[in-house]
């Protein structure tokens, strides 16, 4: 098997591209794919300050590495989730990568800074661990980006992630979520811009990028993710992909080209999408509903469609506190401590 570019021995075959690559040209291929994605979707301007959400896994380290190679001013953000040894090891991979590349890694520790961890927080809030984790990370990424003066938050979502989410949303016709599934979420109403530069690379490709680039990453997955429904979607899609290479990419990018606009508020399916948003309230992923009527959370100031944002409601149930040590209790408004407690329990 020869490299498509230089005819030297190849280490990876990419069926959907009908191409094989040696390490050097595979690395270049990955960078080109990311560069093309950033340009096509206008994700990052050359002068932007970039904050990369880093988990210690292959995707986040790969995208951080590629962005730095492309010349972006990119810092990392690692959130310690308190998931036992898994968090200890993942943090070590993130810190080692940052040290090796002399990069800045911002750290947040849920247990130390907010007084809860994902396992206990999920139980207390009666959420799945993945739901509590996703909600926490989204809030903390937003906050860290705004507090740190970053222009854009980068996440390591890859083609398989996006195809699996799309598959799930189509299977259940989650029209509101279909309207939101874009590789770029523009900044608005106190939310930073969020982008996914890896959407043209599969998981197999990001893992291979790390190996050929000498990036050590945490191979073992989060122990709390076992049984995650998206894993089943990914396996189903890979069964199709191996028989029909290119199906995942076509599924996702054809959706973006031909269908996504139909589910946005401005598109053909806008009225339906808005109605669904109203009916659904907070998203199935635990986020506050997008759309009209955002206002500052009365406790933390984050934009929310409710009086108290979803993160602060989680914090309350988990017995946590905001970073300044103020305990969050039912009815206690952080910025108006003298007020009477509301008569309605805002925890849903």
């Amino acid at each position: 098997m020869k490299c498509r570019v230089c005819r030297e021995p190849a280490v990876i075959d990419l069926k959907r591209h009908n191409a094989n690559f040696c390490p050097e040209h595979f690395t270049r291929f990955c960078r080109d794919q990311v560069e093309r994605t950033i340009a096509e979707f206008e994700m990052i301007a050359p002068t932007d300050r970039v904050l990369v959400a880093v988990s210690g896994g292959k995707d986040s380290l790969a995208v951080w590495d590629i962005l730095m190679d492309l010349g972006y001013d990119a810092d990392g953000l690692y959130v310690g989730l308190g998931i036992g040894e898994y968090s200890d090891i993942s943090g070590r991979f993130a810190r080692d990568f940052a040290a090796a590349r002399d990069a800045t890694l911002v750290g947040i520790d849920l247990t130390e800074d907010y007084g809860y961890d994902i396992p206990s927080g999920a139980r207390a809030a009666r959420r799945t661990p993945c739901s509590a984790c996703g909600l926490s990370k989204r809030h903390l990424f937003d906050r860290a980006a705004l507090d740190g003066g970053y222009d854009v938050v980068v996440t390591g979502h890859n083609l398989d992630d996006e195809a699996a989410v799309l598959f799930g949303n189509v299977m259940h016709w989650q029209t509101t979520y279909l309207g939101r599934q874009r590789p770029v979420l523009p900044a608005r109403d106190g939310f930073p811009r969020k982008v996914k530069p890896l959407v043209r690379l599969s998981e197999r490709e990001t893992a291979a990028y790390c190996i050929v680039s000498g990036i050590d990453y945490l191979v073992d997955e989060c122990p709390m993710a076992k049984g995650n429904k998206h894993l089943g979607y990914k396996e189903a899609l890979n069964e199709i992909e191996v028989r029909s290479p290119g199906t995942k990419a076509d599924f996702y990018f054809s959706f973006l080209r031909r269908a996504a606009d139909r589910f946005t508020p401005d598109g053909a399916g806008g009225a339906e999408a808005e109605a669904d948003a109203d009916a659904d309230g907070p998203g199935a992923d635990g986020s506050d509903a997008d759309g009209v009527g955002l206002r500052p959370c009365e406790r933390c100031g984050a934009p929310t469609s409710a009086e108290i944002c979803a993160f602060c409601r989680l914090l309350e149930r988990a017995g946590g506190h905001l970073p300044d040590g103020v305990a969050v209790q039912v009815g206690q408004h952080r910025d108006r401590p003298g007020q009477d407690a509301p008569t309605e329990d805002v925890v849903s």
């Binding site: 098997m1 893992a207 073992d220």
Partner: protein, 70 residues
């Protein structure tokens, strides 16, 4: 004395052996592993599907799907 190809798998961690020589693609088929879901790694290097593994080779079948097993 030569031994078989030693194959290390994850989720759960386990080892299996297979007589060499054997193509990587055949190895994955015999183990019923979807090639889209893994990389095969030998001595820190990715081994492509058409590579022939010899007796005494030690390879890792590394899952690439976030969130679960191979």
């Amino acid at each position: 004395m030569m031994g078989p190809v030693l194959v290390r798998l994850r989720n759960p961690n386990r080892e299996v052996t297979m007589p060499g020589p054997v193509l990587v693609s055949v190895l994955l088929d015999r183990l019923d592993v979807n090639r889209e879901s893994v990389l095969v790694v030998r001595n820190g290097t990715i081994v492509p599907g058409d590579e022939r593994l010899a007796d005494d080779d030690v390879v890792e079948i590394r899952p690439v799907i976030s969130g679960g097993a191979t």
